[in-house]
């Protein structure tokens, strides 16, 4: 890695759970601790998440913060190919989105401690 810094998978920092809301889905990301929450807050942006899932046709991603419980909630619009009743995909309800998000790679610039 040039320029210093390191990479981390989201799964090293958090757990996650996803589900459907009509044709939209949400992914709840629960940080393992406060330090992990801080990294997720600065690195796991709505833009990163939207880009990661772009092939699913997601039109917009909103991120909500729950600092009390060290969690982020991502709302992914129009991502389910029609939703539970009419999606042609194996994962009609977006149950796998969280598992996929845990493999997203975050880059952390080197820090002087």
């Amino acid at each position: 890695m040039s320029g210093g810094g390191r990479t981390l998978r989201v799964r090293e920092l958090a757990t996650a759970r996803s589900g459907d809301k009509g044709n939209h889905a949400n992914i709840g990301v629960v940080a393992r601790d406060e330090a992990a929450y801080g990294i997720l807050l600065s690195r796991l942006t709505a833009v990163r998440v939207q880009d990661y899932f772009k092939e699913l046709g997601v039109t917009r991603v909103e991120r909500f913060e729950l600092p009390n419980v060290l969690a982020l909630n991502f709302l992914l619009y129009d991502v389910l190919g029609g939703g539970a009743s009419r999606s042609l995909r194996i994962d009609t309800q977006g149950k796998l989105l969280a598992t996929a998000l845990l493999e997203l790679t975050l880059f952390l610039p080197q820090r002087e401690d």
């Binding site: 799964r11 757990t15 996650a16 759970r17 589900g19 459907d20 809301k21 009509g22 939209h24 949400n26 709840g28 629960v30 990661y52 899932f53 772009k54 092939e55 699913l56 909103e62 909500f64 913060e65 729950l66 600092p67 009390n68 419980v69 060290l70 969690a71 909630n73 709302l75 190919g81 029609g82 939703g83 539970a84 009743s85 009419r86 042609l88 995909r89 194996i90 994962d91 796998l96 989105l97 969280a98 598992t99 996929a100 998000l101 845990l102 493999e103 997203l104």
Partner: protein
């Protein structure tokens, strides 16, 4: 009288573990057992059953569950059951359950039935009164869409449940009510809060939201699944205090776990803006909630805040939207990827040749990333030597979809070598119901509550 109210939930959807309710009440003493049996899709399936038979359209699983619970209902005088298993037909559900109770010597047990959520027969009348059922996403009024509506149900709140309990019901059967209201209803009955004590309403609704999906808060659906014994996972219990704060726990000795992670994962499950989790009863703010581990498998949840409920009910409205079918084959060999794609295209080409241009089609290669197309985190791994081809189609014409289902098996003799898995027969054609997200003013909906002894529900 204890000032802690213990509410359990032992079903998170229709099809959940049938033994969970009995296991729960036999391993922990609770005041209420709730069972959540309805999802949007479930409502339209039940609507279709009721169309064919006026005595059908409820969750028949519940009748079996009540049969298993009769010993506990005899032995535990405090135990009450609150469920939305009534589906599209709460009176018929009550009648079936009453049969079981009467047969087991519980004919005197009062059953509360909540109706008034079903708007299907009232759609024209409500539209005449000015409710246009505007689609929340597109802004189009329902009448302009010309749809074949199969079900339309308002999500009722906790008030009719509380009324049924005030009428001494030991078993409350509802149709469509908001999931969190199954917990708020008993809580209001116990503590008698005001219906505008928004913070308390929000707190009990948070408890309801946490337990509504059953084992999802006790270790089920966890990333950390290897840490838990899930085969005999315990279903959740919320212990509510007079302040509205609660402790989430599970029966002693059961599998699974209750910890900060299992609880927070469920807190943000299937929600949008956490500052506005809307139920018919209250507008909840989850961002003020605190979660703290206070003992083994015990997590304290506090600090929820609430704002006034809106003046409308959400409506679950479904309409007919053609037919779908899905077929699968195992494709084997070093060339499985190209071969599977070619087989999928061959099937669709043959359907086209038979005269049917299908409206929507999808070819998936399960084993090389079909679960989340584009999220190729594992692309560094070797290509597989086998995968499952899945082809799914959707069309307004049943005969077009029917034709598709007949084009999979012929590949065994007229496609490439290295295919298996035909033995299960042709895929089923299923009707599709799509959803029209909309609202109805509360003033136009009157929930109805009736409490009668089981034996009087038999007629």
């Amino acid at each position: 009288m204890s000032r802690v109210l213990r509410i359990a939930n032992a079903a998170g959807f229709l099809g959940d573990n049938l033994d969970a309710p009995q296991r729960l009440v036999e391993s922990a003493e609770v005041d209420y057992l709730t069972l959540e049996h309805l999802a949007e899709l479930t409502m339209s399936i039940l609507a279709r059953l009721r169309e064919k038979d006026p005595q059908a359209g409820y969750a028949t699983d519940f009748v079996e569950i009540v049969r298993d619970l009769t010993p506990a209902l005899h032995a535990q005088s405090q135990l009450k059951i609150v469920t939305n298993s009534g589906g599209m037909n709460p009176p018929a559900c009550a009648k079936a359950v009453a049969g079981v109770l009467t047969e087991k010597g519980l004919g005197g047990l009062p059953i509360g039935v909540v109706t008034g959520d079903d708007l299907l027969s009232r759609l024209a009348e409500l539209q005449a009164e000015g409710c246009e059922f505007v689609n929340l996403e597109t802004g189009q009024p329902l009448a302009d869409a010309g749809l074949a509506v199969v079900s339309a149900n308002a999500y009722l709140g906790a008030q009719p449940i509380q009324q049924a309990l005030a009428g001494d019901a030991r078993l409350v059967i509802t149709g469509r009510v908001a999931d969190a209201s199954l917990t708020l209803g008993p809580t209001m009955h116990k503590f008698g809060w005001r219906w505008d004590d928004w913070n308390k309403l929000a707190a009990a609704s948070v408890a309801g939201h946490l337990i509504e999906c059953g084992a999802q808060v006790t270790g089920g659906y966890s990333v950390d699944w290897q840490k838990y014994r899930l085969a005999d996972v315990g279903y959740p219990i919320a212990e509510l205090g007079e302040s509205g704060d609660c402790v989430i726990t599970k029966p002693a000795g059961s599998g699974g776990a209750v910890n900060r992670t299992t609880v927070v994962e469920q807190l943000i499950y299937e929600i949008g803006d956490p500052s506005h989790y809307l139920t018919p009863d209250v507008d909840c703010d989850f961002t003020t909630v605190n979660v703290r581990e206070i003992g083994p498998d015990r997590v304290a949840v506090s600090g929820a805040s609430g704002n006034p409920a809106t003046d409308s009910y959400k409506v679950s409205l479904a309409y007919r939207d053609g037919f779908m079918a899905s077929g699968q084959l195992l494709v084997y060999g070093v060339d499985c990827r190209e071969k599977a794609q070619a087989c999928g295209e061959m099937i669709l080409e043959r359907v086209r040749a038979a005269g049917f241009e299908l409206a929507r089609t999808n070819i998936e290669l399960m084993g090389v990333g079909a679960g989340v197309p584009g999220a190729w985190f594992w692309r560094k791994y070797q290509p597989p030597g086998e995968l499952v081809l899945r082809v799914t189609v959707h069309d307004p014409r049943r005969e077009a979809v029917e034709r598709f289902t007949r084009e999979i098996a012929p590949l065994i003799t007229s496609g490439p070598a290295g295919l298996a898995g035909y033995a299960t027969g042709r895929p089923q054609v299923r009707p599709v119901y799509s959803y029209w997200p909309t609202l109805v003013p509360k003033s136009l909906v009157q929930p109805k509550v009736e409490v009668r002894p089981a034996k009087e529900c038999l007629q």
